[in-house]
Amino acid sequence: MTEQERIQKQRTERASQAAPEVTVDATKGDQLKADLDDLLDEIDEVLEENAEEFVRNYVQKGGE
C-alpha cells in the first residue's frame, strides 16, 4: 500500500457547503499499473483497429 490521504473537511459556513469531504482517493492511484505490460495488453484490445483511418477522419471545426 502506498499513502492514504484523507482529510476530513470541517463544516464551515465560509466556503464549500456542497463539498462535504476533501479527499484524494489513493485507492485508484494504487491501481496505477505497476506492470505497464498489463496496461499495454489492455490498450492492444481497445485501440481502434484501423488507427490510421481513425486518426485521419478525426477532423474538427475550430471552436471557442
Partner: protein, 495 residues
C-alpha cells in the same frame, strides 16, 4: 481585498460521426438527446444503472420521435450548467462553484452528462452513424477548440496587473496540468517537429493579451463580460488551459490559479516573479520540452525554467496562505490539499515522473505512448501513437484510455451522479438549477445572471441574479420549498 473566487470551467467537446458526419448536426443531436432524457422517466431510470454505461438495462427509447434536429440547441440543466452547441461542438459550461474542489466535481459531472447524452443519442441513430465524443482540445490537424476557466476577480485590480501577475503562471503551469499531445499541428509547432508536447494548446497561442479566442489566441483574454455586477467584479476568462482527464490536475489547475489571483488582490504585484521577455515563445518552448530544461529570459534579466516559475509561484501562494489564510478560495483543509498536491506534482514531475503518472495527464499519456511504441517497435510518426492520444480523451467507456491508466479520483461515481442533477448550494447556480427543476413549464429563458418566467398572462418576469453569491441554498431553499408554483415564487420575491 480578495473577493470569493467563484469559478467554473466551460468545455467544448470534440465530436465525430453522426448523419453525414456533420458536426453541427451531431452536436445538436447530443444536446437534444440529453434535453429529452432530462424531461422523461428515462432520466430517472439511469440512476440505478452502472456508471460505466454497460449496455445492459438500457432504457426503452421507443417513445422517442426519430429526431434529427438541426437547429442549434441550448439548454439549462437542473444542476445549473449550460449545455449547448457552440460552433460545431457540444459544450458544457459548469455551474458557478465556490471552491476548486466543487468546480472539479461539476467538471466531472459534465463528462457524465456527455456520456449519457452520447448513449441516448446513439440509440436514436443508425449504428454506422454512431457518434463519439472527446474531451480534448485539437484534432491534430491545426483545429483547436477550448476549455476555458472563469474566476471572479475584484474590479479594484487593474487589468494590467492581472496580466503581469498571471502570465508567468499561464505559461508554466502546463508542466503539471498539461494534457500532452503527440506531434505538432500549427506552422510554428511543425517547425520544431516534436515527438510530444506537454500541452495540446500551447502552440495555438500567438499573442500575450487580446480579445480574440479563435484567431491570434492570447495568453490573457480581455473579454470583459462579468455576468455579474460590473462595478464590483471582473470575470477572468482563461482560455489557455487544456481539458484534463485527471481530476487532480483539474483541481490543482483551478486551485493554484484561484490562489494566485487572491494573492494579487490582497497583496498586489510585489512578490510575483518577473514576466518572460517573450511569453509566447516561453509557452511554446516549455511545451516542447518534456525534460523541463528549457529556460527563458525574464524581464529581471534572470533565466527561469517552467519549473522555476512554478516553484516561485507555489512559495508565493504558500506564504500568502500562512499569513492571510485562503478564505477567498476555500476552507483551510481544501487549501492545504491544493498546496500539497501542487507541490507533490511539481517535485514529482522533475524527480520521479512515474510517481505522478496517476495525476498528471501528460505524464500518464506519454508513459503509455512510449511503452506501446517500444512493445511494437513503432516509428515516431506511427498513426497508432496518435490514436492512443485521441483515445486517451475518448468518452466512450469501451474506448477510453484515461479510464484505464490508473488516474486518481477525487470525486467518486455517486458524487458525480448527484452533481449531474443537483446544483451546488454555494452560489446562485442553486437558484437557477432549482427553478429549472421545479418550474420547467414557466421558465422561458435562463442565463448566468437571470431567470425569466412566463406565467401565461402579463409580461415576462425577469429575476436578476447579479451577485454570484446570492441565490444560494442557504438564502433560497426555504423560499423555494414553500413556493409550490412559479407564481407563488414570484409573489414571494416581490414582497
Amino acid at each position: 481585498m480578495s473577493v470569493a473566487k467563484v469559478l467554473g470551467i466551460e468545455t467544448e467537446y470534440g465530436i465525430a460521426g453522426g448523419p453525414d458526419a456533420d458536426q453541427i448536426v451531431a452536436s445538436s443531436i447530443i444536446v437534444n438527446a440529453y434535453a429529452q432524457e432530462g424531461r422523461t422517466r428515462i432520466n430517472w431510470d439511469f440512476e440505478g444503472e452502472t456508471p460505466d454505461m454497460d449496455a445492459r438495462g438500457l432504457p426503452d427509447l421507443t417513445s422517442f420521435a426519430p429526431i434529427v434536429e438541426t437547429h442549434l440547441a441550448n439548454t439549462v440543466l437542473t444542476n445549473g450548467a449550460r449545455l449547448y452547441v457552440d460552433h460545431a461542438h457540444p459544450e458544457y459550461s459548469s455551474p458557478e462553484c465556490r471552491t476548486p474542489l466543487e468546480a472539479t466535481l461539476y467538471d466531472a459531472a459534465g463528462e457524465e452528462v456527455m456520456r449519457r447524452a452520447l448513449m441516448v443519442a446513439n440509440q436514436m441513430i443508425e449504428t454506422y452513424q454512431a457518434i463519439s465524443l472527446y474531451k480534448n482540445n485539437s484534432d491534430g490537424k491545426g483545429n483547436s477548440y477550448g476549455t476555458h476557466e472563469n474566476y471572479l476577480v475584484s474590479r479594484d485590480v487593474e487589468f494590467t496587473h492581472v496580466v503581469r501577475a498571471m502570465v508567468p503562471h499561464f505559461v508554466s503551469r502546463q508542466i503539471i496540468v498539461g494534457a500532452g499531445k503527440v506531434g505538432a499541428e500549427t506552422e510554428a509547432g511543425l517547425e520544431s517537429d516534436p515527438f510530444f508536447q506537454l500541452s495540446s494548446r500551447a502552440e495555438f497561442f500567438e499573442e500575450v493579451v487580446g480579445l480574440e479566442t479563435t484567431l491570434k489566441r492570447p495568453i490573457i483574454n480581455t473579454r470583459d463580460e462579468p455576468h455579474a455586477d460590473a462595478e464590483r467584479f471582473r470575470r477572468l476568462h482563461v482560455i489557455i488551459g487544456d481539458a484534463n482527464m485527471s481530476q487532480v490536475a483539474t483541481f490543482v489547475k483551478l486551485g493554484s490559479t484561484a490562489l494566485l489571483l487572491a494573492v494579487l488582490e490582497d497583496s498586489g504585484l510585489g512578490a510575483f516573479p518577473a514576466m518572460p521577455r517573450h511569453p509566447v515563445g516561453a509557452v511554446r518552448g516549455f511545451a516542447l520540452d518534456p525534460t523541463l530544461k528549457c529556460a527563458v529570459l525574464c524581464e529581471d534579466d534572470r533565466e527561469r525554467t517552467a519549473w522555476d516559475f512554478q516553484d516561485e509561484l507555489w512559495r508565493l501562494a504558500h506564504d500568502h496562505v500562512e499569513q492571510h489564510g485562503g478564505d477567498a478560495v476555500a476552507s483551510p483543509e481544501e487549501i492545504q490539499l491544493v498546496l500539497t498536491q501542487w507541490r507533490e506534482m511539481l517535485d514529482g514531475v522533475r524527480d520521479d515522473p512515474e510517481s505522478v503518472a496517476d495525476r498528471i495527464d501528460w505524464v500518464a499519456k506519454l508513459r503509455v505512448i512510449r511503452g506501446f511504441q517500444e512493445r511494437h517497435s513503432l516509428s515516431n510518426g506511427d498513426a497508432r501513437l496518435q490514436a492512443i492520444d485521441l483515445q486517451y480523451h475518448d468518452l466512450r467507456p469501451e474506448r477510453s484510455l484515461a479510464q484505464r491508466v490508473g488516474l486518481r479520483v477525487m470525486h467518486g461515481d455517486d458524487a458525480v451522479r448527484e452533481a449531474v442533477h443537483n446544483p451546488p448550494g454555494s452560489t446562485r447556480a442553486y437558484f437557477r438549477g432549482q427553478c429549472v427543476a421545479r418550474y420547467p413549464g414557466e421558465i422561458v429563458a435562463a442565463n448566468w445572471d437571470s431567470v425569466v418566467f412566463d406565467l401565461g398572462e402579463g409580461p415576462l418576469q425577469r429575476v436578476p441574479m447579479l451577485d454570484p453569491l446570492r441565490g444560494t441554498r442557504l438564502l433560497t431553499e426555504e423560499l423555494l420549498e414553500t413556493s409550490a408554483t412559479a407564481q407563488a415564487l414570484l409573489q414571494a420575491l416581490d414582497r
